[in-house]
Amino acid sequence: MAPLLQSSQPWVEKYRPKQVKDVAHQDEVVRVVTNTLETTNCPHMLFYGPPGTGKTTTALAIAHQLFRPELYKSRVLELNASDDRGINVVRTKIKNFAAAAVGSGRQGGYPCPPYKIIILDEADSMTEDAQNALRRTMETYSKVTRFFFICNYISRIIEPLASRCAKFRFKPLTDEVMSSRISYICREEGLNLDSKALSTLSSISQGDLRQAITYLQGAARLFGSSISSKDLIRVSGVIPGEDVQALFSACKSGNFDLAEKEVGSIIAEGYPVSQMLSQLYDMVVEADDVSDEQKAIICKKFAEADKCLVDGAGEYLQLLGVASNTMRALCNMPQEFSFGN
């Protein structure tokens, strides 16, 4: 294989922290993990939290800091959702890896503790059976292996596994942390972002640093080294405020056909309905001229539509349903239908 070119990596990879101490915003995690690295007394760990907050980064950094490069392959097993992790793999592959004996002792500045690390990234997509099969494995080899589980949803990890681990919640990054990391990348890449653009970038990526970096790279390629807040909005897929407003006004008007037309044009523009719902939600919640009761009725339907979308329901009909319900709430039309039952 040819050596990997650093320059051919997208920025998200280029700026992935190599050391635990460089992981931003996850102070508690960093503190505990750094301690661990010093004493090399490592518990099983479970990292959970939303996308792009540093979970995989941290796990890989720990592994790389513990073992010197030559040892890495024999000491660290990384399995993610792209590997088959059915029961059989858990039983055989992990077992084989875990069973082989290890030596210990500090070597060349690396702690090299006397155990192996098994990183199960995206563990929430493992079946319950496979997770159950892991319980035994974890116990049998507890002396010589440490497991790192990584997932977005902790509720998908079965309790017996979760309770064996030290749990770390990765928080969505705050605007300040996001801005400072982005500013650092801007300096490295010779980009120019004013403070408005910086705060826009933080707010549109909603605590997901990977998304922010991708937007930044997109904007840099498209609009050159001086990037404005508008450029970022254009690459981000955020729906322009006017379009959200147009739908909201149509709902207020009480005219079904008008609302249907807006819904049709939103779909034709290709705006993701999930995005529309979240922006419409913000607009409704902040509206002064909508009563709490109306807001409750409107938002309840948002939740239903969101669930249906996750189930795979069509975007047009769901948005139309939301628009119709919103209209009925805003215009005090009866909530109950008169003819169906």
């Binding site: 294989m1 792209s82 059915g86 995206e122 990977r210 998304q211 991708t214 003819f339």
Partner: protein, 354 residues
Amino acid sequence: MLWVDKYRPKTLDKVLVHQDIAENLKKLVTEQDCPHLLFYGPSGSGKKTLIMAVLRQMFGASADKVKVENKNWKIDAGTRTIDVELTTLSSTHHVEMNPSNAGFQDRYVVQEIIKEMAKNRPIDTKGKKGFKVLVLNEVDKLSREAQHSLRRTMEKYSASCRLILCCNSSSKVTEAVRSRCLNMRINAPTEEEIVKVLEFIGKKEGLQLPPGFASRIAQQSNRSLRRAILSFETCRVQQYPFTNNQAIPPMDWEEYVSEIASSILKEQSPKRLFEVRGKLYELLVNCIPPDIILKRLLYELLKKLDSELKHEISHWAAYYEHRLRLGQKAIFHLEAFVAKFMSIYKGFLIETFG
């Protein structure tokens, strides 16, 4: 060759609509470090065209030399091997496929192909791209497992394999996958833009277009460029020279749905329901997707209903479409919607007219 294919622009310089996006894409792929891309937008808006032009921009004319293959993967799943077969379209620089066609085995395809491609990374890095491109169509139809298995792979192999994902509704692509791509929204062309394309094709074909002819086609196209070009060609076949008042033929299946709509507005009875079932079956047999049928039926009904009923009927359309996705037999849910409509409409008629 159909006009839709014949007049598909080959390069980013030649596109007639989405010129701004094409310009942007050109800038995006000049460097080696282009991120993964996710194209999304309504059907017939020009996604595929842009993707093909991007490949061309990245790899030159060799991206056009594609071969169709029926690929077979043997996947070792511990106790058994799973056989997966899928058609791929590939050049030396890219592979394109439709992994959702592998059904519930889509996960294995996604896993295997990316690793395979990463291993066969092109060696030459001077001036050439050091990566291959994998184009995955209809990612919104991928199972959740398959989407999950894309996540880490997209990061791990990002230096050697770049992904271009394509879909209609990006709401159905998981957040984690979207967060790993630069999202490119391809909106449906406006009617004016469609007219421009039709006039361009008319000129190339040496056709005389009566005033307003192209815009009548555009209006009927529901902003789908593909649809507009197809009906333009149908008109050409049906009658040339074009006349001022020449009818733009609707699609057959749309005619059919419109008949269903009028027949259930006229009579609400078990007998009518039975007749309609036959028609719905026929549409399904002809491979018209059930959600499209339902949407069209709603569209036809809304044209005729009182505003009070519009709310109610669209509510039930959404309700049954959702059920249809969860269930297996589309016909049940389509029929249930029709029955629901009949009962509501009958109630309404009795209340209004006694």
